[in-house]
Assembly symmetry: C2
Homo-oligomer: 263 residues x 2
């Protein structure tokens, strides 16, 4: 039975936030074409740190895009979430078997998850009922996306085989090392590190002030049960996440606040 499901030709949707001409998406498509028919619907321009933005006040344009020798796809002048919505609701004839977002150039661990356009594309897929994975390579330097793409392919098959619960997606971070240096794969929790933001105030030629956001992700966690330490220690990190943001413990605690009498 498993053999049958594995040999079925999958319909795969691919998106990202680095833009349709990024090298990470090309590496990913090449790997996924080995296991199915891949449709690429991705932003026409870089969309990092857009969070889960969607476009409502402007219409979207969709342009055919050819990546010579690799793929045909659609470039959308919108956000990653826009791309996935319009792919599933307007461009594709049937719902894809799986969505893979990435491979992002840069890590999406800890608090970065909530700023991430890569994760947002996979979140939108999940909302629309498509099993979804977000994949990031944890370096901002020169990048070789091949192992991350290969891992994404293997995980995609495992996800199709096992399914994902309603509302759950997988956030994957791959350390930037050759395959033989990768120590293994860990199922992790979202880390607790936050950005140590600073603003660099400068003056333009007209002497008017402007601010650049700078800062670093602070290391907080040490155990490899968390995403960031896992990749730091050369493990591939796979974190199941969801979008029910309710803090259930706090629902209990607040009963004692007398909030009901606030009206």
């Amino acid at each position: 039975m498993k053999r049958t499901s594995r040999s079925k030709r999958l319909n795969i949707l691919v998106s990202n936030d680095d833009g349709i001409d990024a090298p990470g998406i090309e590496a990913l498509v090449k790997e996924l074409q080995r296991i199915g028919k891949v449709t690429v619907v991705a932003p026409s321009k870089q969309q990092s740190a857009v969070g889960h933005a969607i476009t409502m006040n402007y219409p979207l344009r969709v342009n055919p895009y050819y990546k010579n020798g690799t793929f045909f796809g659609y470039a959308v002048d919108g956000t990653p979430a826009d791309c996935v919505k319009i792919a599933v609701k307007a461009l594709l004839r049937k719902k894809p078997d799986i969505l893979v977002s990435g491979v992002n150039h840069g890590s999406n661990t800890a608090i970065s998850i909530i700023y991430s356009g890569t994760v947002s594309a996979a979140t939108e897929g999940t909302i629309l009922g498509v099993p979804s994975i977000a994949v990031s390579l944890t370096t901002y330097g020169p990048a070789d996306f091949r192992y991350a793409a290969k891992f994404a392919r293997k995980l995609a098959l495992l996800v199709v085989e096992n399914g994902l619960p309603e509302g759950t997606l997988l956030n994957v971070n791959v350390p930037p090392f050759p395959e033989k240096q990768i120590k293994g794969v860990l199922i992790t929790r979202q880390g607790r590190a936050i950005w140590n933001d600073e603003f660099d105030a400068r003056r333009d030629p007209a002497n008017k002030e402007y601010y650049w956001l700078t800062g670093e992700l602070e290391e907080v966690d040490t155990e490899i049960a968390f995403d960031q330490p896992a990749v730091r220690n050369k493990y591939v990190s796979v974190t199941p996440i969801h979008y029910d943001l309710t803090d259930y413990n706090m629902v209990q605690t607040m009963e004692s606040w007398g909030i009901h009498k606030l009206k």
Copy 2:
């Protein structure tokens, strides 16, 4: 003791996603000025559905803004999250006692929470260690923000008195009715409704296609333990939310997938 803490003059940061000239933020500021010193740092333009976007590839501009007779503030040409980051990290001399985001014109219940710029401002405040509340009025029609603003003031005092756990914020939705028609206040969970998206394909004068996103939030939940039915039934809904997206149940389930052998 409670009396003392209540009579302390609070430092209050206010932001929103409808823009600094929106009527909802003005109503909010007027109420909050009764309990403290209010600093407004808000987007110069409307920023709905931006999710948790931040600006990294462009510098931010900050312009002084006078709302005649009501407040002095700062207009930032960025997202709600940008506003809160730059307020806490560059503009304010000390960390505020509380942040209130809103009053948003339109509901932020169920899945809308993850698209919401209003919630994003409060999330950013929470990340930066400031107790934070997001407040929305659940109508897209003509709006009277006064009761929502008054409720926000009372809740702000309760939050300062009780504190919030690290990483937890409150998402408040107020139904658009006069105070005497409001039935009460409920502590709720994030609803499970999702948008029933559709794309309206049109042609421009040059016969090129473009797409408008349309759709409605489907009603799924019926119990007033969820945010959407609560407001539909004329209750103020207060939902504690957090940004640890880990799906802890799935962490357990995935142990059986053999994912460790994927490398």
